[in-house]
Symmetry: C2
Subunit: 483 residues, 2 copies
Amino acid sequence: MGETSMTQAIMSREHPAEPPDNTGGPDLERIAASAAAVDGGLLSMTDFRHWFDERRKAIRMDVRRIPFAELQRWSFQPVTGNLVHDSGRFFAVEGLRARYDGPNPASWSQPIMNQPEVGFLGILVKEFDGVLHCLMQAKAEPGNAEGLQLSPTVQATRSNYTGVHEGSAVRYLEYFTDPGKGRALTDVLLSEHGDWFYRKRNRNMVVEAVGDVPEHEDYCWLTLGQVRRLLGIPDLVNMDTRTVLACLPVGPAGGPSDGAATALTASLSAQAPAAHTLPELLRWFNAIRARSEVTVEPVPLAALDDWVRDADEIRHTSGRHFAIVAVSVEAGNREVTGWTQPLLSPRGTGVVAFLAKRINGVLHVLAHAHPEPGYVDIVELGPTVQCVPDNHAHLPPERQPRFLDEVLAARPEQILYDAVQSEEGGRFYRALSRYMVVETDEDRAVPEDYRWMTVAQLVTLLQHSNYCNIQARSLIACLQSVW
Amino acid sequence: MGETSMTQAIMSREHPAEPPDNTGGPDLERIAASAAAVDGGLLSMTDFRHWFDERRKAIRMDVRRIPFAELQRWSFQPVTGNLVHDSGRFFAVEGLRARYDGPNPASWSQPIMNQPEVGFLGILVKEFDGVLHCLMQAKAEPGNAEGLQLSPTVQATRSNYTGVHEGSAVRYLEYFTDPGKGRALTDVLLSEHGDWFYRKRNRNMVVEAVGDVPEHEDYCWLTLGQVRRLLGIPDLVNMDTRTVLACLPVGPAGGPSDGAATALTASLSAQAPAAHTLPELLRWFNAIRARSEVTVEPVPLAALDDWVRDADEIRHTSGRHFAIVAVSVEAGNREVTGWTQPLLSPRGTGVVAFLAKRINGVLHVLAHAHPEPGYVDIVELGPTVQCVPDNHAHLPPERQPRFLDEVLAARPEQILYDAVQSEEGGRFYRALSRYMVVETDEDRAVPEDYRWMTVAQLVTLLQHSNYCNIQARSLIACLQSVW
């Protein structure tokens, strides 16, 4: 079906939005119905693939690495050596010194991306044939390994939407900024990578449109079930989509009935028996926050120990961790058609994994409360494993990241989810991680900073700021794709 | 009844705790039952008054203002002029410079109390005769206007409980630190005064004891309904008790049936129709956070513009705002029996008030989202009015705090709550405010940074950090006392 006729068909079948409610009850049911709809959407999965292949041909983005000297409008400040845009906006690469006191002392310094603005990550939804659909965007970013990804309706920094970059307006932004144009189903201010960003946060929003939504060839309507199904494909659904999907409150789930799927479905229910009550989990989490003595201070990028800058990159003298690099971008369909910018380039592919375990028939995942220097509030919950193994390859076995060996040694029947996904391509250069959920039935002592939690408990917490990190949220979205 | 026989009677009648649950359902019912119990507790209200009068005679605390030169173990640092304890712990009085950009620009500098530790405010609860009772403490603090107040079971800074002050152990602390001794009903890390403290937060906890609880003459068991009833008495229930009480999730309420009380009871229900859905309120709140450009930086106390230090106080040259003063304390029953310390002394009595309005039969209060320089996360929700009128007396009518005149001009039949309460007497010297809830039926345009919310919506939010300020939480506790 062509874009125009498809959209016209949509408009004639639309249903009015439900009236507002206080408790989210009817919304939960509608979200669950959309999550269950994979075949009954406006587009079949085959239609989607055709559309996405078309977009891949139409959307051109040429990216090449350049030396810092070829950056335009970006420069190293004279004294600090900080890498900044001449508008003073977007983001800056600065230095940071961190010290953890307490049980696991550590201190180091590193470059960090400072972007003290709150942006939007927003998915617009609308009912067609009584089923909520998500308006998804085919979008290229300079750091993407494979070019095009499936992105939210809107991803916009404040510099984007206030016009600092002198480009065209951000499409569909008004649905997220103007309450008269849409009703919020969720709006949460959530952190991004605390190891790479200094206090960066975005509003993760799902808004139900009021009235007609104009069509555009780079966007298509998919059910929640279809988007989740696409999370099984490596590096297709971008990070911004994953974190927004994770915020959707979990409704009553149908679904298949084999052992792991039943345990997962149970894990999505707030009524399922959990290993720990939510107040007890918060007590554990607050105790860790209270005793974490984390000191973070901005320092000049030029003053960092163990980091060196040459013509092409800023890197750690060990060759580990990450590098700051520069790229030149030529794009056909962006607000701005050509630009240069710095990106953060991790060394090696990461591993981001939850260990999962059935407790009383309910799937629990093993969350890890840990500090990252860029968090606004010291400590967040992350996955069981979150590391780049190459950064630890030089260390003896007893100093390897906890649970990493167990996750990598999983037998096929233990693996509930396993796909390579990428981090945000607007800031990170080919930042790929293997996202995994690995089931275990081993009884073990859990280290003090880990706890077994149901998915519903994590989703309850991530309706609010400063609880769940971006990696855990991505995995929660992925985990919901597997039934 | 004497203390010993009372406690023995208690122990023989105790009931086992409910089994843990995931949703809080049974806890909600038990909390509601305790809130409804005013006459059926272990102590009658008359018994309580006798006990409290006895404690007032037994607990002696002599406080006198002293010049800074008589402070022991506290001194002004040579270069910065910051006022610090020689252990480096407790708190310090430092300087802070703040700048608000955006719609309401402002910039100023001021002294601020820096206490970068997380302490405990905890109420221990236990069932007697099937009704939850709260273990309340009769406690004096140096800044209290009237000496003794009704305090939580535990209020302890980290300096207290790690023994920096070389005093005796904090009584009952183990119930809050050791999960084996009690089960958490709530545990939230919550802010305190953002105008006076730099990022101070305490864990607000309610823990249900496992097993026997030893008695002590300075503590008594009251039902939640009894403690709430005591909130009608001026300056009796201290700030720490109020903020912990506000965190208790709201259960199904019974209660009287006249108009305002019915509307209030409805306001406590998560199912009541609200003027705005919770996601829409969060959207409004996040939009304000996202556009607030607040810059806060620590500066030396000696470098502040417009603040002067003499032998007895640090004060603003205008005589407004507050002063930093010093006191000498002699106490009979404290961990330490004599000490000196600085306190912050506000100028004049504050007004802390919610305007309230019935919307579709449900009482709504008018919350105000605003920044304070000491908040961890920029903006929190406060009451409709929060000011010290004397600080604004020199300004023309159009620059008076919004809604202040309306609140002060309320007719008796509009007033749902009106009592003078105090802020924390361990840090503030006679900091009194008139706490009010004033009902209005006027239709009006609501300024952009205000929203009508149900009490249940506020209580839902304050289960998490960084939403509701200490003044709003105090008022929520007070408001729940009036039926």
